[in-house]
Symmetry: C2
Subunit: 203 residues, 2 copies
C-alpha cells in the first residue's frame, strides 16, 4: 500500500502554491490546508480574481504599467505630464511609489526587471528596445534611470546608458545619500561614502 498522502487535488494545489515566489514547501502546505479549512466562501472569490486577472488587466504597450483591458493608460494619455522626460523603473510597483512621492510629472517606462545573468535575465527579457523607440518617438530630453542601486541595478543602468548614447538625450540617475530622517548609525558605509561624495553646499 502506498504511503498516505493528501487527495490529488490538494497535492496539485500545494505544488502550484510552492512555485509562487516567496512560498516554500511548508508554507505552501500550510496555505493549502488553510484554504481547505476556511471553506469555499473564502476560496472561490480568490479563484475568480485569479481566473479573471489576465482577461481584465493588461500592461500598457507604451509605459508597461497596468491598465484595465479596454481603458486608456492614465499615465501615457495625460497631457499635463511632460512627455520629454522619461523615468525608467524596474517594476510597476515603483511607478506607484514615485507617484506617491509627488516628485515626478513625466512619463514612466517599466522594464519588467533588471539584468541578472545568474537568473538568466538578458536585455531581450526587459523592455529595453521599446525604451529606445520611445525615447526617439517622444523626442525625450532626459531619461532618469530610477532602477535600484544594487549590482544588477547598476549593470542595467550602465547597459541602458550605453544604448542611449548618441540619441542626444540626457541620461541621469537618482541621487544617492542619506535617507530622510536617517541617523548616521542607521546607514551602511557605502551609503555614507556616497552621501559624503555627493555633499551639497548650503551656506
Amino acid at each position: 500500500m502506498p504511503a498516505l498522502d493528501y487527495p490529488p487535488p490538494i497535492q496539485r494545489l500545494i505544488a502550484q502554491l510552492r512555485s509562487l515566489p516567496g512560498l516554500g514547501p511548508r508554507s505552501a502546505e500550510r496555505l493549502a490546508l488553510w484554504l481547505m479549512q476556511v471553506g469555499p466562501l473564502r476560496v472561490d472569490p480568490l479563484a475568480r480574481s485569479l481566473g479573471l486577472l489576465h482577461d481584465t488587466v493588461r500592461a500598457c504597450d507604451e509605459c508597461g504599467f497596468f491598465i484595465e483591458k479596454d481603458a486608456d493608460c492614465l499615465l501615457c494619455t495625460n497631457e499635463r505630464r511632460n512627455a520629454r522626460l522619461i523615468c525608467v523603473v524596474e517594476q510597476a510597483a515603483d511607478v506607484l511609489r514615485l507617484e506617491r512621492s509627488g516628485a515626478f510629472q513625466g512619463m514612466y517606462h517599466v522594464l519588467g526587471g533588471k539584468l541578472s545573468p545568474l537568473d538568466n535575465v538578458t536585455p531581450e527579457d526587459l523592455r529595453i528596445d521599446s525604451l529606445m523607440q520611445r525615447v526617439q518617438s517622444l523626442q525625450a530630453e532626459e531619461v532618469i534611470l530610477a532602477v535600484g542601486s544594487d549590482v544588477e541595478g547598476e549593470a542595467t543602468a550602465s547597459y541602458i546608458a550605453d544604448g542611449l548614447s548618441g540619441l542626444g538625450v540626457s541620461v541621469t540617475r537618482l541621487a544617492q545619500g542619506m535617507p530622510a530622517g536617517g541617523a548616521l548609525d542607521h546607514v551602511d558605509e557605502l551609503t555614507l561614502f556616497q552621501a559624503l561624495h555627493g555633499r551639497r553646499k548650503i551656506g
Copy 2:
C-alpha cells in the same frame, strides 16, 4: 484627480492575497505583480485548482482528514488499523507526519486547531464533541493527545482529558525529551528539564 493606483482587478487580488496566512501587504503586492507578469498560462491552472478545491475534496466526517468527494476514508475504513486506539492531532498535516513515522496503526482525530482565547478559538470551534462521540462508538481503550506542547496545546490537552474522564478510556500524551540526533546544546532548557525528568533506565 485621485492618486494613481493599480486597476481595480489587481487591487482586489492584492487585498485577497493579503488576507491569506503568512502574506503581508508587501508580499501580497509582489505576488500579484508576479502573477501579472508570468501570464495566464501560469495563473489559470492555479485559479482552476482553487475553484475546484472544495468541489473535489472534503474532510472525512469521522476523522477529519481530507478525502476525495465521493471516496471512502482510507484511514477510517482500513480494517487492519486498531479502532480502539485514537490519536488526536491539531491539523491534517500532523496525520501525514505521524503516518510517515510508521509508529501508529490506530485511528486519527483531527481537531482543526487548538484552544486559543486570544484568537477566539473556543471548544465549539474544534472537533471535540465528535471526539467524545467517537470514543464511545468505537469503544476506544486509549486516546493519545498528540497536540503540540506549547501553551495552547497543553490547554487543549487538559480540556480534552477533563472531558474524557469518566468515559473509562486511558488518556496519554506524547513523550517529551531530546529530539533524535539532538545534542544538548541544541535544545532549550525546558526540553532538557523534561528529558531529565522522563529519563529511562537502560542498564
